[in-house]
């Protein structure tokens, strides 16, 4: 078993193509996760007991079952009831849906961490609900949300190889297809690992910097 640079050079173009799909899936999935997550957070904080209860438990159900199974569900079950999604679309929806349960907690915590005095102040100023949110609550709750949301973006990036199970040819699958047809596993698998390290280690470092930055800002404001 020796490392062959020829094989490495051979597989690289396929992997670059795969990386593009991986990045697409990550950002589109994150977009869905943030949007759905905010929606879910609002539902969870609803004053109506049944809505809060139902949204909490359906989010827990998604959170406590594996993403892989949810992807299979979207990929195999939906066509049976007449909904045809491309593998990539199913993957993006699955990724977004799964992680919306995580991001909803970030949104909820961010909004709930704004002191009640701020809500009361907005009320006493006779602000409309829109104004309360726009000028009082959101400006205070968004900055602390940024680091955890960035962290989930990195997590989603690392979860994209699961999409290979539903035939999406992303980074990992591109390497795997090459491996299976050439019986060369060492170089493609090592390169996939390297690609992930190259992207996720620096971005984890950036996320850490963001965390420090917004922490300082918070203590400064207090």
């Amino acid at each position: 078993m020796d490392w062959s640079w020829k094989v490495a050079a051979d597989v690289l173009p396929f992997m670059v193509q795969g990386l593009v799909v991986t990045i697409e899936a990550t950002f589109a999935g994150a977009f869905v996760a943030y949007l759905l997550g905010l929606f879910l957070a609002i539902l969870k904080m609803s004053k109506s007991r049944p809505i809060a209860f139902f949204s909490y438990w359906s989010s827990e159900f998604i959170r406590r079952t594996p993403l892989l199974v949810q992807l299979y569900f979207l990929f195999y079950v939906l066509p049976d009831i007449g909904i045809f999604l491309s593998p990539l679309a199913a993957g993006i929806i699955g990724l977004g849906l799964h992680f919306s349960t995580y991001t909803s907690e970030v949104f909820r915590a961010g909004i709930e961490n704004v002191p009640t005095g701020q809500w009361e102040a907005a009320k006493s100023l006779n602000y409309r609900p829109y104004q309360t949110m726009r000028y009082v609550i959101l400006p205070q709750s968004i900055p602390p949300m940024i680091p955890p949301l960035a962290n989930y973006l990195i997590t989603m990036f690392k979860e994209t190889p699961l999409l290979s199970a539903i035939t999406v040819v992303e980074l990992f699958n591109a390497a795997n297809i090459y491996s299976n047809s050439h019986y060369k596993y060492l170089e493609p698998m090592t390169l996939v690992g390297l690609f992930f390290l190259i992207v996720s280690v620096p971005s984890a470092y950036i996320a850490m910097r963001l965390e420090k930055k917004y922490q300082l800002r918070n203590t400064g404001a207090n």
Binding site: T65, P66, Y76, F172
Partner: protein, 222 residues
């Protein structure tokens, strides 16, 4: 649903494999978490650096890539594992990296005065960790460890991709044999949800037991 019940023996076998995989990798991950997490406090720079490399490597690459690496690449280097061992190693090593950060953060969250008090009492490093820091840090770790345990359970589903016959693998077999899609996937999602909910209840129970009378840190959820 009746036709899925015909295959209930497969589902029971799959459930047992999933539980076994979760349990054994959880123990492995727990040992690694403490080993690597505490290594970060070593006075030897080489030990600290080794711990950081381990952490960044396993946290930075995707779990599915690690699993395929163990399954396809390590045998080329002369290391042959049965699939279940490769699955346990990949799950344990992956979650261990996240766990080590929990251990490190929890020990660091013990107030500075406690570290200093141990030094003032002339405690050895072992005594300091055994009698002062860990008893206060462990209750802080429990809720996060609980979350990681759920992540671990969900990660075991990925092991189905390296031919381990866990729940997800069995659902795929049932799908292939009966052409049913909705029933097998719904059935295993309910099983996963049930296992996860039991794990949540257990960690909540342990968390309550451990934080009894030590409410200073745990209640604040530092």
């Amino acid at each position: 649903m009746e036709r899925v019940l015909e295959y209930s023996s497969l589902l029971i076998d799959g459930t047992l494999t999933t539980i076994e995989l979760t349990f054994v990798s959880a123990i492995l991950a727990l040992i690694i978490s403490f080993l690597v997490g505490l290594s970060r406090f070593s006075s030897l720079a080489s030990v600290r650096i080794a711990a950081i490399i381990y952490l960044e490597f396993f946290r930075g690459t995707s779990a599915i890539v690690q699993m395929f690496f163990m399954f396809y690449v390590l045998p080329l280097m002369g290391l042959h594992f049965p699939p279940i061992v490769a699955g346990i190693l990949a799950c344990g090593l992956n979650l261990g990296s996240y766990g080590s950060e929990v251990v490190r953060a929890a020990v660091q969250s013990v107030p500075r005065g406690q570290h200093e008090a141990a030094t003032a009492l002339n405690y050895t490093k072992y005594q300091k960790f055994r009698y002062v820091l860990l008893p206060q840090a462990i209750p802080v770790m429990i809720p996060t460890f609980g979350n990681l345990l759920i992540e671990l359970l969900k990660l075991t589903a990925v092991a189905s991709l390296i031919t381990i016959s866990d729940l997800t693998f069995m659902a795929q077999i049932i799908r292939a044999q009966t052409a049913l899609t909705l029933e097998p996937f719904v059935a295993i999602m309910i099983i996963y949800f049930t296992i996860a909910s039991v794990l949540v209840a257990i960690t909540d129970f342990i968390g309550r037991k451990l934080s009894k009378g030590r409410n200073t840190l745990a209640k604040k959820g530092v």
